[in-house]
Symmetry: C2
Subunit: 248 residues, 2 copies
């Protein structure tokens, strides 16, 4: 079946991103065909996951053969909405923000602006990744870019002139909720939030609501505490990790 209203399960969506990375890697290595087994290994999931997830997008596998890598990559790119350009700003340029600037997000994502609430940061100029040259096959050296760090007061104007699809939010905890509201009011509809949950819950968490702002959380601390708990569990083989010992 095709995709109808495509109720692509949330869990599958996360894994599709992993398959795309795997497909890109295979393509770069010059591999032409692959299998659900190989993809599963690269993505760190189970083979039946791969088959089921990919089946949501259509059927571009060949039974008995596997998947054609190039086709796979194209379809994943399309399905994930990565055949268009997404423009983002980085809000908060302490070390984490700077690290995000240098990170490789894929060519589809381009940084168009830098903002910081702190006067110390404002006015600084920072290097950002070069724009991908659209249809230039010749190996021109990429053009370096630098952007100025702006105060948040310029945000609303900026968003009116530039299309800004999303913001990477990495300001200190104390002001993150407030800053998120500023972003929303400026008309930004997507926030990738590093740091604790944004509590004024006007913004639905993962909700694909009407036309509200979507917040996607990246929470290091939760992952760390999950890890600690896991280690605790396995270091005490049989016994329960000292939870409660109350009666009843």
């Amino acid at each position: 079946m095709t995709d109808q209203n495509s109720p692509l399960p949330s869990a599958s969506l996360s894994r599709l991103a992993l398959y795309l990375r795997a497909a890109q890697e295979l393509e770069q290595r010059g591999v032409l065909a692959t299998s659900s087994r190989e993809l599963a290994e690269l993505a760190g999931v189970q083979p039946f996951h791969v088959r089921k997830d990919l089946a949501y997008l259509g059927r571009f596998g060949r039974r008995g053969q596997g998947y054609a890598v190039a086709l796979l990559r194209r379809e994943l790119t399309r399905s994930l909405g990565l055949n268009r350009r997404w423009q983002y700003i980085v809000v908060g340029l302490d070390l984490l923000g700077q690290a995000l600037l240098k990170a490789d997000w894929g060519e589809e994502f381009v940084c168009v602006g830098l903002f910081d609430p702190s006067p110390q940061q404002q006015g600084r100029r920072l290097d950002v990744p070069a724009l991908p040259q659209p249809f230039t096959l010749g190996q021109l050296p990429p053009v370096p870019r630098t952007l100025r760090v702006r105060p948040l007061s310029e945000l609303a104007d900026f968003v009116q002139k530039q299309a800004v699809d999303m913001a990477f939010l990495c300001v200190p905890t104390e002001i993150s909720s407030h800053t998120a509201q500023q972003l929303q009011q400026a008309g930004i509809r997507g926030i990738l939030n590093f740091g604790p949950a944004l509590n004024p819950p006007h913004l639905p968490q993962g909700g694909h609501e009407e036309n509200d702002t979507i917040v996607e959380q990246v929470d290091f601390q939760v992952s760390l505490q999950r890890l600690a708990f896991g280690l605790l569990r396995q270091s005490i083989p049989q016994l329960t990790p000292t939870l409660l010992e109350n009666p009843t």
Copy 2:
């Protein structure tokens, strides 16, 4: 009921970390009692989530009243295994690694070493957060510490002398799987991995296996692509996001 073999659901575990953060915040504000509604708001989840999750740990709520903040914080801390000290190393000290060094992970987590595969980084000295003074109530100024960035060749020896519970892995993509193996061979049983899935799947992904290494993934790119997909969905209100249009 108490916790038996506590098969604490994985989804609940993640949320418990959020409640702990909320409880700490409330305690700092001087709030004595709270409710599932308030906690839910702070954590960005639903009230029945809070009640059900907390019920896994026992019953320290008072019906009709709510939860005592101090008790709540204590129980959450205990249950998550945060009443002991966890020692970590940071592997890879480019911008992201440096950002992680400065981040606030909670007092229970202390950095004991820095490692980097690149000779340019080796030998550098970096500031790390001061140790929490255990039973000192007096406000002595915290003692600053600096640590030297070591080559990975020193890792095995280091782990033998120092207790190292976990590693934050943030080296470039190309070497991350290889580096993870080095960590595992040196005897490190927990890895918080920033960057793509570690593909030699000797390490089970989230598996609480025998006594194997536990890997917890923090994958920015997946979150970003989830966000992009979400935006795509809502910007085309009724229509399916250009997925497939092939015949049956």
